[in-house]
């Protein structure tokens, strides 16, 4: 059996990404790989292609990777990185448009159940519409 789907969180803030990752890991309470690419290489607010590349390289590709961006410009950086990679299986890295915190939690919990990439993507996408009140 291949491992669980990995989650990569791309954020303008290293602390935000790590905080969300920590929360997602605790709620999922299981061995899911949640990696972060937050902030610039200098540690300031912004995104780093190098950090995104590093996270994608570290992710276990066995079951696929879901990438969650915090804001629109994280999408730009992530897309630039994905375009620059020569991929054998580009379809197993999926960039999902959803709420950052909710998507991370839903994706990580779903991944922890051993769900396939499509189901983890669906869970992250559904998170976009879930109301909290």
């Amino acid at each position: 059996m291949t491992g669980t789907v990995s989650i990569v969180l791309v954020s303008h803030s290293a602390r935000l990404a790590e905080g969300v990752a920590e929360m997602a890991r605790q709620i999922a309470s299981a061995n899911v790989t949640v990696l972060t690419a937050g902030g610039t290489d200098e540690g300031t607010l912004g995104t780093s292609a190098a950090l995104v590349e590093q996270a994608l390289s570290s992710a276990d590709r066995g079951a696929g990777v879901v990438v969650l961006p915090d804001l629109g410009s994280s999408v730009l950086t992530t897309r630039a990185v994905l375009d620059s990679r020569s991929e054998e299986n580009p379809d197993d890295i999926v960039l999902v448009d959803t709420a950052f915190v909710e998507g991370a939690v839903a994706a990580t919990v779903t991944a922890a159940t051993g769900a396939a990439l499509g189901d983890v993507v669906a869970a992250a996408e559904e998170a976009r519409n879930v109301r909290k009140l």
Binding site: S29, V105, V130
Partner: protein, 86 residues
């Protein structure tokens, strides 16, 4: 023939993030289709955000309904998680 099982629990603690996460993972282990009812709202335990959105507080009543071959095991397992609280 499809088995069904229903268990009502009184929550000992609020149903927030960690127990919701545990319910989602436990529910995935069973073949049965499982639903949670709370104050007129029904959610699937797999939907961790929806479970958290129930706003189920300590002392409130939650009904676990399962349909399928392992329905009784499913309701029992989820009821145990809810009894454990956080």
């Amino acid at each position: 023939m499809s088995e069904s099982s229903e268990v009502a629990v009184e929550l000992t603690a609020a149903l927030h993030a960690r127990p919701a996460g545990r319910l989602a993972q436990e529910a995935a282990r069973f073949k049965a289709e499982i639903l949670l009812d709370h104050e007129g709202t029904t959610v699937r335990p797999s939907g961790v955000l929806a479970v958290m959105g129930l706003g189920a507080v300590a002392g409130s009543r939650l009904v676990i309904r399962a349909t399928g071959p392992d329905a009784a095991q499913a309701t029992g397992a989820l009821a145990r998680i809810l009894a454990e609280g956080d």
